[in-house]
Amino acid sequence: MNRSDSAVRTWPGVPADAVHLDADGLDAREFNRKLQELAQVHDLLAVDNPRARHNLGIGLETGAAHIHFLGSVGYYCGGFNAGAEITVHGNAGWGLGEAMAAGQITVRGSTAWSAGAGMRGGTIVITGDAGPRTGIAMKGGNILVAGTVGFMSGFMAHQGKLVALGGAGDALGASMYEGRIFVAGPVAGLGADAIERDLDGVDLEELRRDLAQAGLAWPAQPLHKIEAEGRLWYFDKHDARIWRNI
């Protein structure tokens, strides 16, 4: 039971020439300022001792470096990302990549609630399971999950694509406006106004490309496409029952 020193461990997939920044002893504001400065001059960064702390790697700018977090991160990691590539070697807490605009965040572990909340662009890849409300109110970009997504994932999504290769919890795609959800494996239930539609050739081509780029295997079970049926777009008194189900 010792506090581990992430600098003395070897981390698979982290190049030896990465420039290291130790998160210990820096508050979130200091840490993010230093990380933003380093990302302007170095292409490859590694963060030691993230210790699952919150608000790490916020507001990284366009064209910034590839940043490896050596261990779990807490809430809101990679928020407002505008182009950096981030890899988390551990889990991520709530609100991973919230409101991100571009770039990629890869989590080699699992995520808690609301990964990719309100994201506008870029890609989030999760190799484990994602918690409830993954992709809530997303307005663009891709979220690719190798495992399951929790209940109410894709809730009120506006645009973008959420892919769950290991199944989904209840109320999948509840009250989504537009956007697409692709899910393989068991689904506990669809949310209000969510409906299954047939995959077309464009979908399949896009998914093959996305999964290959993310290094995720094509699922053994068939993929289903979930979209908004559109009955919540306009109020119709004949459809009042669906409004009561929200």
């Binding site: 039971m1 210790r51 779990s72 809430y75 609630w113």
Partner: protein, 322 residues
């Protein structure tokens, strides 16, 4: 908000210190008060550890004397001098009593609380609840938490929402009058008033009007009806309404339960006989290696760990805080 954590060690060790460090990492979740439910080692037979708060700190020794008289009146006796610790900057004192008593715990409890200005925080063969206003670091320094050697325990830092900032409203709550059972809670109960009324009508006693205390008394009632810990936790998910994720500890087990949406998070981690859980993963990362695998508790989940299966016999450790 509120931040809570629980720990089961492989063998008796510095459980107070480790929980204090873990809880310290969640100060932002609740700076109002901090508490610990710690389990020392196997006691001598018939001995009960009583943790109380004496409201009049300056006259604490005199009040402790009156408590001793009341204990004697119900055929109990103090095993040594009461250990009275003053709160830093406060006007109250926390007091630890060792009592030799074989009768019903409710009788002893009524006798001690019969003395004016004495509030019992816990009674148990092994359980000791230490709670006060302030941060984990402040409360631990004031009341010797770091020196506590034991096998398992809970900790909680509180952001007061449903009731006032106050020592008695702090967590953990003892499942009065059930020896050795304690809970910590993150959330709010929405059917609190109705359940409280029904439980009071059944003769159950509460120290406060805090909604979290209701969970501990509810569990005590379930256990007194002969239900298993797991069964009691499962029933609580349907009987309680609101947002809740709570931890429960007994002399033999630690458990957790969440409402059907589990919006109050809890991260679990276990390796080689050690089990750690916390509202936020960063609490676990304060004391455990980053290679340790963690998982979030799912909605509506109940998990129970048997302390005996994870902890081994103690080596040269003792339970008396110095």
């Amino acid at each position: 908000m509120c931040g809570q954590c629980g720990l089961i060690l492989e063998r008796a060790g510095p459980v107070g210190h480790l929980l204090r460090v873990m809880e310290g990492a969640m100060l932002h979740r609740g700076p109002d008060s901090t508490g610990f439910a710690l389990y020392g080692e196997e006691p001598k037979s018939g001995r009960i550890v009583v943790r109380t708060r004496i409201a009049d700190g300056t006259g604490a020794d005199r009040v402790a004397g009156r408590v001793a008289d009341e204990v004697a009146r119900v055929q109990g006796q103090l095993a040594g001098e009461p250990d009275v610790r003053m709160s830093l900057g406060g006007d109250a004192a926390l007091c630890r009593l060792l009592v030799n008593f074989d009768g019903p715990p409710a009788v002893l409890l009524a006798a001690i609380e019969g003395v004016e200005g004495v509030y019992v925080h816990s009674m148990g063969r092994r359980l000791e609840i230490i709670k006060d206003v302030g941060t984990a670091e402040q409360v631990a320094a004031r009341h010797g938490v770091d020196q506590f050697i034991g096998t398992h325990g809970l900790a909680h830092s509180r952001l007061a929402t449903e009731s006032t900032v106050d020592v008695e409203m702090s967590h953990p709550f003892w499942a009065r009058p059930y020896l050795d059972v304690a809970i910590t809670h993150n959330g709010q109960l929405t059917n609190f008033h109705k359940m409280r009324r029904l439980m009071s009508q059944r003769g159950l006693q509460f120290l406060t009007d805090n909604d979290s205390e209701l969970i501990s008394v509810y569990i005590a009632e379930q256990l007194s009806l002969g239900r298993s810990l797991e069964d009691a936790l499962r029933r609580s998910i349907t009987d309680l309404d609101g947002v809740f994720t709570y931890l429960l500890s007994t002399a033999d087990a630690v458990g957790c339960a969440t409402d059907p949406l589990a919006i109050k998070p809890l991260v679990l981690s276990h390796v080689a006989g050690t089990v750690a859980m916390a509202t936020e993963e960063q609490a676990i990362r304060q004391v455990f290696d980053s290679e340790l695998v963690t998982e979030y508790v799912r909605e509506g989940a109940v998990v129970v760990w048997d302390v005996a299966r994870t902890s081994r016999s103690a080596v040269g450790a003792h339970s008396e805080p110095q």
